[in-house]
C-alpha cells in the first residue's frame, strides 16, 4: 500500500490486514510503555485545510506512538478561497522531506490529486476530502463493530452483519467510505434518509435505501446503527434547506430510547462524532450500554497507527 485515499476499490485482503494490524496496535496500547520505535526517523505531516481537531489529534497521537516526527500544518484558507494553492503547499512539504502527508481538505478529490499529481513523493493518507471519502473513519467503524459483534475476529470480515446509516448521506464522506468498506467485508448496508439527503446516483450503490428510520428498524435485523451528524443549517426549511425543521428531523430520524429498545438486544449504536445530542441522537442512546461511541474514538488511534505502519514501515519490508 502506497497511499490510503479511500475504501472504494480496496480489496478485502487489504481491509482485513488493516483491521488485524489495528488489533495488534490496540494490544500494544494496553502496555505500560505505549510508544513503539517503528517509525523512528520518519516525518508525518498533518496537512489540515479544514478544522478538525479530533481527527488531527487522533492522527498525531498515532504517529507519535509509532515514534514518527509529526509536523502540524494548518492551512486554513485553501486555494478554494485563494490562499496558497494545494500545489505550492505540496511542493513545500516535498522540499521538507515529508514521508507521509495526512490531508484533510474541503474539496472532494484533493487527496487523490495530491497523490497523483507528481507534486509529492511521499505517501498520502486521506483524512477526509469534501463529501468524497474518509477511509480511516470507516476503518475504525468497521474495527469497532468487528470487535463487538464478531467472535474471534482476527482474519475475519463483517460477513452477515447489517448496518444502518442514518442521516445526511448526500453530504457525507463517512457514508461513502463505510458503504464501500462494509460491503467489501461482507456486510449489508441500509441507508436511512429522506430523499432530499440522498444523492441522485444512490440507486446504483450496493445498499438498501429506506426513507424512514422506523421502517428500517421494522424491516431489518440490524446489528449496528450509525447516526450521522446533522448540520442545523441544512434543516431550516428555507430555499437552501433539505429539511423543514430540526424538530421534524428528530421526530423522523432521531434515535431515542423507544427506537433503541426496538433494536435487537445485541445491536450497537455508533456515531462518528461530534454529536448533536437531542437532534440526531438522544442522550439515553448516546450514553447507553449499546453505545460504542467512545470506543470508536479510542480505536481511531489504533486504526491510524495501523495505516501509518502499513504505508511507511511496510514500504521498506517490501
Amino acid at each position: 500500500m502506497k497511499h490510503l485515499l479511500g475504501t472504494d476499490g480496496m480489496s478485502r485482503e487489504d481491509a482485513v490486514l488493516l483491521l488485524d494490524t489495528a488489533a495488534q496496535m490496540a494490544a500494544t496500547q494496553e502496555r505500560e510503555v505505549r510508544k513503539l520505535p517503528t517509525l523512528r526517523g520518519k516525518t508525518v505531516v498533518n496537512l489540515f485545510f479544514e478544522d478538525s481537531t479530533r481527527t488531527r489529534i487522533s492522527f498525531e497521537a498515532a504517529a507519535k506512538r509509532l515514534s514518527a516526527d509529526v509536523i502540524n500544518f494548518s492551512a486554513k484558507g485553501s486555494s478554494v478561497s485563494k490562499g496558497e494553492s494545494l500545489k505550492d503547499t505540496a511542493l513545500t512539504l516535498q522540499a521538507m522531506g515529508a514521508d507521509a502527508v495526512v490531508i484533510r481538505h474541503s474539496a472532494s478529490g484533493a487527496a487523490y490529486q495530491l497523490a497523483h499529481s507528481g507534486w509529492l513523493r511521499g505517501s498520502v493518507l486521506n483524512a477526509g476530502d469534501g463529501t468524497h471519502q474518509h477511509p480511516t473513519q470507516a476503518l475504525l467503524d468497521a474495527f469497532t463493530a468487528r470487535r463487538r459483534l464478531v467472535d474471534d475476529p482476527e482474519g475475519k470480515g463483517l460477513d452477515g452483519l447489517t448496518l444502518a446509516i442514518v442521516g445526511d448521506v448526500l453530504h457525507s464522506r463517512v457514508v461513502r467510505s463505510n458503504v464501500s468498506l462494509w460491503t467489501t467485508l461482507g456486510a449489508k448496508v441500509v441507508l436511512v434518509a429522506p430523499p432530499t439527503l440522498l444523492p441522485v446516483g444512490v440507486s446504483t450503490w450496493p445498499v438498501e435505501v429506506v426513507h424512514r428510520l422506523d421502517h428500517a428498524i421494522d424491516r431489518f435485523d440490524l446489528d449496528a446503527v450509525m447516526m450521522l451528524r446533522v448540520q442545523r443549517e441544512r434543516m431550516t426549511g428555507g430555499g437552501d434547506a433539505f429539511f423543514p425543521s430540526p424538530e421534524e428531523y428528530t421526530r423522523l430520524y432521531g434515535l431515542d430510547r423507544s427506537r433503541m429498545d426496538r433494536l435487537p438486544s445485541h445491536a450497537i449504536v455508533m456515531h462518528p462524532g461530534p454529536m448533536n445530542r437531542g437532534l440526531e441522537i438522544a442522550a439515553e442512546a448516546a450514553d447507553s450500554d449499546r453505545s460504542v461511541i467512545v470506543e470508536q474514538v479510542a480505536n481511531g488511534v489504533a486504526v491510524r497507527m495501523a495505516a501509518l505502519y502499513l504505508l511507511l514501515a511496510g514500504e521498506e519490508a517490501a
Partner: protein, 434 residues
C-alpha cells in the same frame, strides 16, 4: 495583396476533385489551366477543401484576461484550427456591452487580420441579468453586432428574456442563451448522476439546462424572436429543441466537440481539464447530442473555446475554472466522432461548421460561401489522413487547457485562407508563404 495560389487536385467538400485558383482574394477558377503565370502551385491531392470555418462561440478573453488569451493568440489558434471567422463572446473585462468595447475588439481583430473577429454583444449590462444593454448602439457600430449573449451566465429572468427576444428583432439580432437555471446549479461541479454521487462533487442536473430551454422556446414562439441555444448537452434538451422546431419556432442550436466526444466518466481522477460548463454528461446524452447533430435538430458545431491559465486548472477540482480550449481540435474531434463513423459527410461539416453558423451570425455575405468562382477565397484545407497526437506544447493558443492532450485525432486543418491570404499553413504548404 497576396500572390495568386493554385491548389490542384483538391476534393471540394470531400466530393469531386478540382483545382482552386485563388487570386485577388477570390476564387477565380476551378481549373489550374486558368491560373495566372505568377501563381504558386501546391498539390492538394488527398485534401478536402471546405469554406472557411466559422465559430459562433469563442472566448478571446481580451480585454481583461490577456493572461489566458489575446485577440492575437486566439486568432492564431482559430486560423490553425481552420477558422476564418470567430464570434468573440462578451464576457470580457470590461464586458462587451457598449459600442466602444465591441468596436475595440472588432478593430483589434482587423488589425491582426488572421481571422474575422465578430464581437458578440452582451444581452444585459455587465452580464448582470438586470438591464438590457444598448443593443442598437452595438448593432449600428462598426462592429455590426448581430449576436447577443450573456454567455457564461444565463439570462435567467423570463421577462428580460422576452424583452431581449423582442428587442433584438429590431436589428435582425439573435439572442444566444447559456441555458442554466442558476438556483438549480448553485455550487455545481459536474453532471448530477452516478459519477457525481461517487465522487462527492455537487451535481449540475440536466433539468437545469432543459427547463431554461423549454421556457425560452415557448417565449420565442410567443414573441417571434430569433433564439439560439449554446452548447446543448442533454438528451432532454435535444428533444425539446426538436419539438420546438416541429412547431415552427425560430430556434437554432449548437453542439460542442467536447459534448460530442467526452462523458462524465472523464471526471474520475479529478483532472480539472475535464471541468466545463455545462458539464460533460453520461453516454446516453452524448449519443443524443450526436443524433441531434446528425438529424439537423442541432444546427451547428461551435467550439466554446475557453482558455484558462495553468494555475486555474492546476488545482483542486472545486477551485478550478470551468472551460476548455477547442479551436485547434474541433476539426479532428468532429471527424473522429461524426465523419469517420459515417454520420456526417464533409459536405455536412461545411454546413455545421461554416455555412449555418455564418447565417445565424449574419456574416453570410462574407463567410460560409460556396466554393465557386467569384466567391471570396475563405477556404480551409483539411487533411483527413493526417492523424496526430494532441500535445500540451503544441497549441497556438496562449492556454493549453485541452481535454484531448495525449489523445490521437484522425485529421486536422493543414491550411487556411482568409480572402486569399494564407493565415495558417502546415509544413507541407511552406511554398504558400508570401
Amino acid at each position: 495583396m497576396s500572390r495568386p495560389i493554385v491548389i490542384t487536385n483538391v476534393s471540394l467538400y470531400g466530393e469531386e476533385t478540382a483545382d482552386l485558383v485563388i487570386a485577388d482574394g477570390a476564387i477565380t477558377s476551378l481549373s489550374a489551366a486558368d491560373a495566372p503565370a505568377d501563381a504558386v502551385t501546391v498539390d492538394g491531392s488527398g485534401l478536402v477543401a471546405l469554406p472557411g470555418l466559422v465559430d459562433l462561440h469563442t472566448h478571446l478573453r481580451e480585454p481583461g484576461r490577456e493572461d489566458s488569451e489575446t485577440i492575437e493568440t486566439g486568432s492564431r489558434a482559430a486560423a490553425k484550427g481552420g477558422f476564418t471567422a470567430v464570434h468573440a463572446m462578451a464576457n470580457t473585462t470590461p464586458v462587451a456591452d457598449t459600442a466602444g468595447v465591441v468596436e475595440q475588439v472588432y478593430s483589434r481583430g482587423k488589425e491582426i487580420g488572421l481571422v474575422d473577429v465578430y464581437p458578440v454583444g452582451a444581452v444585459t449590462v455587465g452580464l448582470a441579468g438586470e438591464h438590457l444593454s444598448e443593443m442598437g448602439a452595438m448593432a449600428d457600430s462598426r462592429a455590426r453586432v448581430r449576436v447577443f449573449s450573456d454567455d457564461g451566465k444565463p439570462v435567467a429572468d423570463p421577462v428580460l428574456m422576452r424583452r431581449a427576444l423582442e428587442y433584438a428583432k429590431t436589428f435582425g439580432g439573435v439572442v444566444v442563451q447559456h441555458a442554466q437555471e442558476p438556483r438549480l446549479t448553485e455550487g455545481a461541479q459536474m453532471h448530477e448522476g452516478i459519477v457525481s454521487a461517487e465522487l462527492g462533487l455537487a451535481g449540475w442536473p440536466a433539468v437545469a439546462e432543459e427547463s431554461i430551454i423549454a421556457r425560452d422556446v415557448l417565449l420565442a414562439g410567443h414573441v417571434g424572436g430569433r433564439y439560439h441555444v449554446q452548447h446543448v448537452s442533454t438528451e432532454g434538451s435535444v428533444d425539446i429543441i426538436r419539438w420546438a422546431k416541429s412547431r415552427g419556432i425560430d430556434v437554432t442550436a449548437e453542439a460542442t466537440p467536447h459534448h460530442l466526444l467526452l462523458t462524465d466518466e472523464n471526471a474520475r481522477g479529478y483532472d480539472p481539464r475535464f471541468k466545463v460548463n455545462p458539464p460533460l454528461r453520461p453516454q446516453r446524452d452524448v449519443d443524443a447530442v450526436r443524433a441531434g447533430l446528425e438529424d439537423g435538430t442541432l444546427d451547428i458545431v461551435a467550439t466554446d473555446h475557453a482558455p484558462h491559465p495553468t494555475e486555474d486548472k492546476d488545482c483542486e477540482w472545486a477551485a478550478a475554472a470551468f472551460g476548455m480550449i477547442g479551436l485547434e481540435t474541433a476539426v479532428g474531434v468532429l471527424q473522429k466522432v461524426m465523419v469517420d463513423t459515417g454520420r456526417l459527410t464533409w459536405r455536412d461539416v461545411a454546413r455545421v461548421l461554416s455555412e449555418t453558423p455564418a447565417r445565424i451570425g449574419r456574416v453570410d455575405e462574407e463567410h460560409g460561401r460556396p466554393l465557386a468562382v467569384g466567391e471570396p477565397a475563405n477556404v480551409t484545407l483539411i487533411d483527413p489522413a493526417d492523424a496526430w497526437t494532441v500535445e500540451r506544447d503544441g497549441f497556438a493558443s496562449r492556454s493549453s487547457n485541452s481535454p484531448y492532450i495525449g489523445m490521437e485525432l484522425p485529421g486536422r486543418a493543414v491550411a487556411t485562407f482568409l480572402r486569399g491570404t494564407p493565415t495558417y499553413y502546415s509544413a507541407r504548404f511552406q511554398e504558400v508563404a508570401q
